[in-house]
Amino acid sequence: MTAVLSGFVLALVAPGLYRRARAGAGWLLALLPLGLAGYFGSYTEAVAAGETVRASYSWAPALGVDLSFCLDGLSLLFALLITGIGALILIYAGGYLSGHPQLGRLYAFLLLFMASMLGLVLADNLLALFVFWELTSLSSYLLIGFDHERAEARAAALQALLVTGGGGLALLAGLLLLGQAGGSLELSVLLGQPHDLRGHPLYLPMLLLVLLGAFTKSAQFPFHFWLPGAMAAPTPISAYLHSATMVKAGVYLLARLHPLLGGTDAWHALVTGFGAATMLAGGLLAVTQTDLKRILAYSTVSALGTLVLLLGIGTSAAVTAALVFLLAHALYKGALFLVAGALDHETGTRDVRQLGGLWRTMPVTAAAAGLAALSLAGFAPFLSFIGKELVFEAVWAAPGAGFILAPAAVLAGALFVVTAGLTGVRPFWGAPRATPRPPHEAPLSLWLGPVLLAGSGLLFGLWPALVAAQLVSPAVTAVVGHPQHVLLALWHGFNLALALSGVSLVLGLALYLGWNAIRRASACLEPLLNRGPAMWYEVALRGLNRLAQGQTRLLQSGYLRYYLMIVLVATAGLTGATLVRRGRLASPVDWSGLSFYDAGLALLILLATAAAVLARSRLAAIAALGVVGYSVALVFVLFGAPDVAMTQFLVETLTVILFVLVFYHLPESPAVSHTLARLRDALLAAAVGVLMTGLVLLAGDVQYHPPISAYFAEHSLADAHGRNLVNVILVDFRGLDTLGEITVLAVAGVGVYALLKLRVGAQGHSAAGSTEVQPARTDAAPLEPEPGPVPAVNGAPQDGGLALANPAAEEGGGR
């Protein structure tokens, strides 16, 4: 916990420290990861003895989410790699970007990443793990985009974030399912419990989601395309994040969850299959590149594929091979990246075709590169040789698929040899070539990292016992689930693995010599490669943009009337769907009680409505609407609701007066809209009308409580001492309503007076408000200069008057 936190804290102060210490800042900052490495190192004894160190802090106890950490063999291996390489990278970055104005920020991002990565491998809680997982994606985004002046870097940063972040979301879903199925989000609880998740009905979705997360992070085919793009980052970043640590997070996750999810047919098929595909695709793509960093990136993809493949096989031999290979790979690939950076820094180019004979000017770098390249190629006596032997052994012994996987592994091994030649040998040997800058030896900070990393690869190869018992055995134990004791030796005797190793070396050397031919041949495949997953990413991104464009045009036009139209359609649709589902849109109507007056009024309303719709002038339409309103009021009178009728009369009068006053100031009615728009409006109006009718009929059916008229009749004399029922209602029972109506009238009167006084001459376009009241009539789109009708200068308060009339009328209809 403290370890993780200290990284975050130091990340915050790093820019300040850089401002003070300048050149020394990298060395100073490297003390923290170094100290942490020592701290973790002190646990090796305990962990090797089978202990697990734990720490827990409560976060949301109600959910069982705690910030808990644990340190077992697997975590320890990763933690040491992260802190150890981290220290070297911090020193290297100081030399590589010395004098860069944003170096302080780089330190901050690097430490942020380191802390997140430590949190990721130490987390014992699935959610905490996810949190750190996303934090590493985020810091990777910031680091790839560090060179933000270049659009290419920004695009690559975004691509990496979208791919890994998207995978992260899938992972979250998978982890939550896992937690639900297993009953806990604590890894230690899940790992320790007896019942098996593999038989769970949700096992397959769980596995797929987790794998999606792991594959995107670890750049497995077909998600591998973001990793070469990520090489836009400064080289120390590529070395650290995109080779040694972050991309291995997916591998870590697979290893971590192997005891829970591994061992099924689905696991074998998926993990092994994708791993093998990635291994080959990465290796082939690596040898077709000419940029040093891109070669290394694709070869990293290939290595990651190998690791995933081994975890897919899942036997204890395979796991051992995976972990040894992982350790060896982190050492030599980190070194090679740093060498590539040093070459770039000192010569100004990373194109292998322009580099050669540099051993004379850069002897130390050349030595480090040579060691790392031999290691990458898998020569004895390096640790990677042991790793490679183990890989061949494990792959050959893979149940069921060994005879397919073994040749694939041999081919991948051969491609590794080519890569090693291209990156570690070719730039330094042969005839010197003209480089953009005259080459000279790199400073200490630039060659220290490669030398140490490549050197330790050799050291561990010569004395494998250094890592076997203390590091690899506990890690393998953690993955396999039961105690394992690993013995590593340089010499395995004359066996199949050695033979395969020899075959791959010879094949690799042959391929290296024919490199130019391979590259020319691969040029023919260019069109095919262009159709790779990267293209689908582009297509998806563009498609999303186009979808957004289309939707914006369609939905957010800026016209109020379209907004209202959609709201109306949605409401009518939702309510209508409910009614239709219950089959109640058309309930039988009892016509027997229909009187002459009722029928007459109904006819009048219909006629007036038709007149309002068809009227050519605004005033006529308003008058017709007034007739509708008054007729409705008469209906209220007929059905014994004089108070409501009274209200309706007042509101109606007021509305008509306001309408007339407003329209008096508006310009002539615009041309009647074209037929199609009118038809659409008519349909919409009809739909809403039918719906309202249905609702009114429905309301009539319900009678849950006695009609209120009985109450009034009973209490009129007794409580209010009045014999005239209507009077009593108006001044007593509904006295407050009456007061309110009078107030409204008074306010409206004042408003009308103010309007008459103002008489602003400015005339605007047709007011937006009219759209609402008469949706069937106004469609002035062609006349309006810009999206969004702007009300006339004095139009807005008047719109209020108009709009208020509508809900009021609706409410009246609803009663």
Binding site: L135, H148, A173, L555, L560, L574, A796
Partner: protein, 509 residues
Amino acid sequence: MNPTVELANVYLLALPEIVLTLSACLLFLAGTFRQNRHFWAMKSLGILGAAAFILALPFYRQPVDPLFALQAPNMVQPIVLDRLALLLKIVALIGGAVLVLFSWNEVSDDLAAEYHACLLVIIAGVGLSAMANDLIILFLALEMISIPTYVILYLQKTDLGAREAAAKYFLLSVFSTGLLLFGFSYLYGLCGTTNITALLDGLRSTDAGRLPLIALVALVMVVAGLGFKITAVPFHFYAPDVYQGTSLTSAALLAFVPKVAGFAALLRVLDFVWPGNRPPGVALGTQAPILFWILAAMTMTVGNVLALLQDNLKRILAYSSVAHAGYMLIGLATAPELAHQAAAVGGGQAVVFYLVSYGAMTVGAFAVLAYLSTPQAPIETVDDLAGVSRSHPAVALMMAIFLFSLIGMPLTAGFAGKFFLFLGALEVRPEQAVLFRCLALIAALNAAAGAWYYLRIIAAMYLRTPLRAIDKPATWPGLAAIAVCAAITVALGVYPTPLLQAAKAAVGQ
């Protein structure tokens, strides 16, 4: 039951709101005599403080007064002060204080008194709507929020764009109010009472929970009416246009306040869809979640997709506000389902949590924009923010916190909130599991798409060089508003438990 006693109690319960409203009236009058924005902002802070002080009195510490319990079970006061109301009132007061700080220097001297008075009435309206236990009180409370909002929209900016914004907001708001009232009138017609407790009892006791069709219609209407307040699709249209047209302070107000009131009202009125003691799956128990499912999926997707292409920051935040309403609707969709099972986080609880988180991060983001804007050089587009991290490192950092929270990055309130909502959707009982897992999947995809447009802003702030110098003198109220929001955002993300438990107590599930 003695009506006089009851009324007195009601007044006591609403004392903070009464103080706020009366003070607002005084402000309206006194504003003519003194025109100084500092003076009136201080005054309104003081008034909010007084309201908070009253709320802190021991009387409010026991939300369930024994007096209320004595009454007939289905006839409770028109105003209740339960834990939900108390929590939302506190949120409203804090939110109000932040808004006062935020708009301190954004309003002109001559309009300051009116502006702050309107703000106080709005805060009172939020408090009242949280307590309303009567359809009419609820409606009045919502209008107490809406009407001053119209005034503020007109008051602050008078150019054509602002007028268009105000007119659009007004017209659509009135229309939605009509829908809401229509739904309310059906509920009244069905049960013969406007008291929500009695209403819910009546609806729950209908035979075997099979509610009449008319209740469903009322439900749709109420949701449509309140949908406007919470910017649910397809009632969201005003948001981008209005936010863009109006001032940043008003936009922040619109993004936050109506959502609180709207969700409070939804939680209260729709309580009948999450059945108290009914078996699962009856009538509304199946239909209401579907309705919210559809609304949630549509709202998130439309909001996020439309935001992708925007360049105008206010429009981005408007669509983001739509998208976040969609996330919160997930909580309403899952609430009826989760009520039956021992879920870790109930739907309503997650909604309340998210409301607070969303308020902090959105108001904070708007406050940052306002803090960096000057009348001559407003921050309008993403490009305007380019390189802010160099000129204003602290403010840029806090903006990044808000944006990361809006994305849902871990250790921010946005992550915790989204997590609780999504978790709920994943926990729904097996019969409905597929449906809600799909919803969770849609939500996750949306969150991923959403990251795109927030990251563009962050990238502009941190990775690009400034296109023009932003030289605005530092003002402490604006900075204080931003800092408070940032503190809440981070605190809720790092340690969500207290609010989560308060929300659990409030919603009761």
